[in-house]
Symmetry: C2
Subunit: 282 residues, 2 copies
């Protein structure tokens, strides 16, 4: 029989290891070799400890398919540090390429940077209740996966070309705002997105031509885009082709790269109170 | 002042929330409003609780850049359930496409399936000490990111085409085993992979032509492929173009899809002993 304190430590880890995923109470009782009544008491202590420290909450679902589910609070310090790293990196002279492009593939493919950005965007996009996250290959994929993991939903991948390995697909052509060329994208007919509420995620958004085309393509599957999340959006043009856009960072010629206004507000700690990150900004 | 038990719950969550990432002791002491001596005692309890339950271990690094780092044990039940789901899904008749292709994009882009596969492959590949994970776009990206997160390293993305947004790139052509066509791949000159030890990850491996080409391309950057991890490998041809291959699943015409032998061994629970998943298989 394990000591109670050690059992609570193990229970805390088991409950919080996979945010958003339902855990069966019977499985937990078996794993810790305790009676269900003891487990209930222990869960109360764990819930209170997490809640008071501002680390998240445990919801209980009763009935046959019963279990518990942990929802972490947004870790604002973690997000703030990643934003700082991204702003520093994107300001480096040697990232400027010809044609107004910026090299950022290495940043987009670093989980240590995209995971906190995904948590931030999921926190913003979740109110609309998305059932899937969609992205157009390739560079927005890590951010889309991070958002999806935080929402507990899968990603639907829109391809640039029609591939053999996708089977029959629906394709659309559109005029890209940045390259002023006709581009195409396609989605497999068997992609399980029919009728779903979808959050669209990408690395970069200027006029929103790609996002608009993705929304149109998803519309052919009776799927509805309920929100758009991107890492960087340009301030110009102010008029975009899609609505409900949440950008982590905004860019314009004059001021360079800065967090969006909603991000600054979301990350602000009120003086004298303990924020949802347990006062780790003190 | 928080109750000690609740403080231990909060500490457990703070320590285990981001596996592989170093956490500063001073930051933890501030977050929980405790003295460093109290924190040290508490960490001892948390470490023991996690260790005894087979959930992982906490390593301490002393000195100026000191801190702690949590390494989770492989959750074998989680991996086993994801493997079962994948085998069931891949056996479905309606996934068969023309030309011997199998539709699996939806499975490859579901974090609930690729995260446990990433944990399994990282557990196998980590001994070689990879400093980065490489993949060739597109379908292996989610698995590559999951492996990278578990190893605490970034992903280097090899492109199919040379893109403007990558700057100057190095390209190679190779003969694809599956399509019998000349294909190409390219890597940005500024990709931060020079001299690194690299794990190559992809969704599917047959003869290994793509993996071989990726290793050659990485070799041009003085980077060395120390291991190859894939979701599915075919048994035929037995002779592959790369070595040190770890596949989660193996496929052949006769027996269909099965976990690889090393996977079955890694997931086996010895009778009467408590496995590294805290006996949750009991």
């Amino acid at each position: 029989m394990r000591d109670r304190v050690e059992r609570l430590v193990a229970l805390t880890r088991l409950v919080t290891a996979r945010p958003g995923v339902q855990i069966s109470l019977m499985g937990l009782a078996e794993a810790l070799s305790v009676a269900k009544s003891t487990l209930s008491e222990d869960l109360g202590v764990v819930r209170q400890g997490l809640w008071r420290a501002g680390l998240g909450d445990i919801a209980t679902q009763v009935g046959a398919a019963g279990g518990i589910r942990f929802t972490p609070a947004l870790d604002r310090q973690w997000v703030r540090q990643a934003l700082d790293t991204l702003m520093d990196a994107l300001g480096q002279e040697d990232r400027r390429l010809g044609g107004g492009f910026l090299y950022m593939t290495d940043l987009l493919f670093d989980p240590a940077l995209m995971d906190p950005m995904g948590a931030l965007l999921a926190d913003r996009l979740k109110a609309a209740g998305p059932e899937m996250v969609a992205t157009v290959e390739t560079k927005g994929i890590p951010l889309a996966l991070a958002v999806a993991r935080n929402l507990g939903v899968p990603v639907v991948l829109i391809r640039r070309d029609h591939r053999l390995s996708e089977g029959s697909s629906l394709s659309i052509n559109y005029l890209s705002g940045s390259s002023h060329r006709i581009q195409s994208m396609s989605l497999a007919r068997r992609a399980p997105v029919r009728g779903a509420r979808v959050a669209y995620v990408d690395d970069f958004l200027k006029a929103g031509g790609t996002a608009r085309a993705a929304a149109d393509l998803l519309g052919e599957f009776q799927a509805e885009v309920t929100g758009v999340g991107v890492l960087v959006a340009t301030r110009e043009p102010a008029e975009k082709l899609v609505t409900h856009i949440a950008a982590c960072l905004e860019w314009d010629e004059a001021t360079g790269i800065m967090p969006a206004a909603w991000v600054t507000l979301r990350l602000a700690t009120e003086a004298g109170t303990e924020g949802d990150d347990g006062g780790r900004n003190a």
